[in-house]
Amino acid sequence: MSMEDLYQEIILDHYRKPQHRAPVLEGESVHVHHSNPLCGDEMDLRVRVVDGQVDGIVFDGEGCSISQASASAMTVAVAGRELDDALALTEDFRRMMHGDEPSRPDDLQDGIAFQGVARFPVRVKCALLGWMALRDAIETYERGASAHTVEHDDDRPPSG
């Protein structure tokens, strides 16, 4: 592989200047901690829900450039969305990582830059880490809980 195949400029921008990266979120509604024991990635994601919308979102974590950049792009793409809409967008991203054409390329915003990652199966889980944390955060919130910890090394189709 060449570096350009995987590390698009947009990805590197997010890696070098992550958006919504912070250890705390004022008025946080839900906090999830995800880790991938296979490569040691860790992700904390905090969401503030107001009127059924993603009113605030921050992530913090440790991991490779792809996982950090993807989480950053994710926070930008979902900020302000209805929870259901954010879940639908998550599913669009997940399918894109498995080689499908995304149906909402514009809504994915910078997330679209990760389309090429699908060709590197080992890195797919890196790109998904933040998105899967988001899905879990919303599901946790909708269950009425405020925190959840998950260890995973792969994504699965949505549970519902």
């Binding site: 592989m1 199966p121 080992v122």
Partner: protein, 411 residues
Amino acid sequence: MPIDVPTLRKAFPTLARELDGQRLVYLDSAASSQTPVAVLDAMDHYYRWSRSNVHRGVYTLAEEATDLYETARTDLARFVDADPRGVVFTKNATEACNLMAYAWVRRNLGPGDVLLTTVMEHHANLVPFQYAAGDLGFEVRHVPITSDGLLDMDAAANLVADGRVRFVAVAHVSNVLGTINDVRGIAQLARAAREDAVVHVDGTQAVPQLPVSFRELGVDAYALTGHKMLGPTGIGALVVRPELLETMQPFLAGGEMIRDVTLDSVTWNEIPHRFEAGTPMIAEAAGLSAAIRFLEELGMDAVRAHEEQLTGRLLEALTSIDGVTVHGPTDLTVRGGAVSFEVAGVHPHDVGAMLSSKGVCVRVGHHCTKPLMRCLGVNATARASAYLYNDTDDLPPLVEGIEAARAFFAR
């Protein structure tokens, strides 16, 4: 399209060999099939181009190797009409049966429970369960056979009637009698008596010869082996309903089947990876993919039609020889390609040796089915088994060899 044997044979290098100036007549495919060049090329390509380990490699070779390996899984799933998440690769069918014995039977059966199997099983589908029964104290029952070599379904119905049969192990096709068993029917019988009965099928002899749909058979697990279906040695598989596989305990433990380990705890990986420990059979998987594509191109209906026809001719040829008795069903629609026979007054070893001297390869012995041998009242048989690269040209040397053995040895 019918199979064009003379053209097809060119793909199988060993078949071109001569033995003492005689044409090689290979009639032992039930033991192991020949391997087409396409399969050898697929393995060679891996070794010469992408040689590396699978899983989690971030470099190109490792990605290619992983892709080859996982493609084999989806190829096999498509070939037997199953879900790839239920496809676990093993080294052979025997390991697949043992996987079922360790990961389900030994974790679920105990005193008072019953495991049902049949008298015609290969040791691979019998001894792992007998061995477990000896350790755990459950009961093993055996479905007998009728005089024409079919499973006795009335007896089977009686054997499950008390509702204690929790596990069934049955061959799809017998490697000695050739019988194609009604495994769908057996599964229905077992489940009628007990809804949660688990039905495990030894499909080793079926997959090479018949179109197989795991979903349509409606069974829980299905074992098969690569080296009898044009594939390489060293690879087999257990196909399991994913919902059942999810509930099974791990068998072999080690790398790749683990999500996390601390000094005193372990979290298992997802299925099917939870059941594949250590570096897998990478080249072999690439070879198996190529074998499957080879069979798919011919079409399994065509393979079956060829086999049915040729087996009919083989039965005719054998029964026309004085002193030869054939075991197993005469109805070709319930018969696969293995034909066991006896030659009056000549020990199978001597039959085999005479045939070998004429370039004809058949298997002699008990074929790893000692209980069946006892049922048939013999110690051993000779067995001829034809496959897609055989045709009627291969029958005269067999017949001549048997006649020569009679003349030479019979006292």
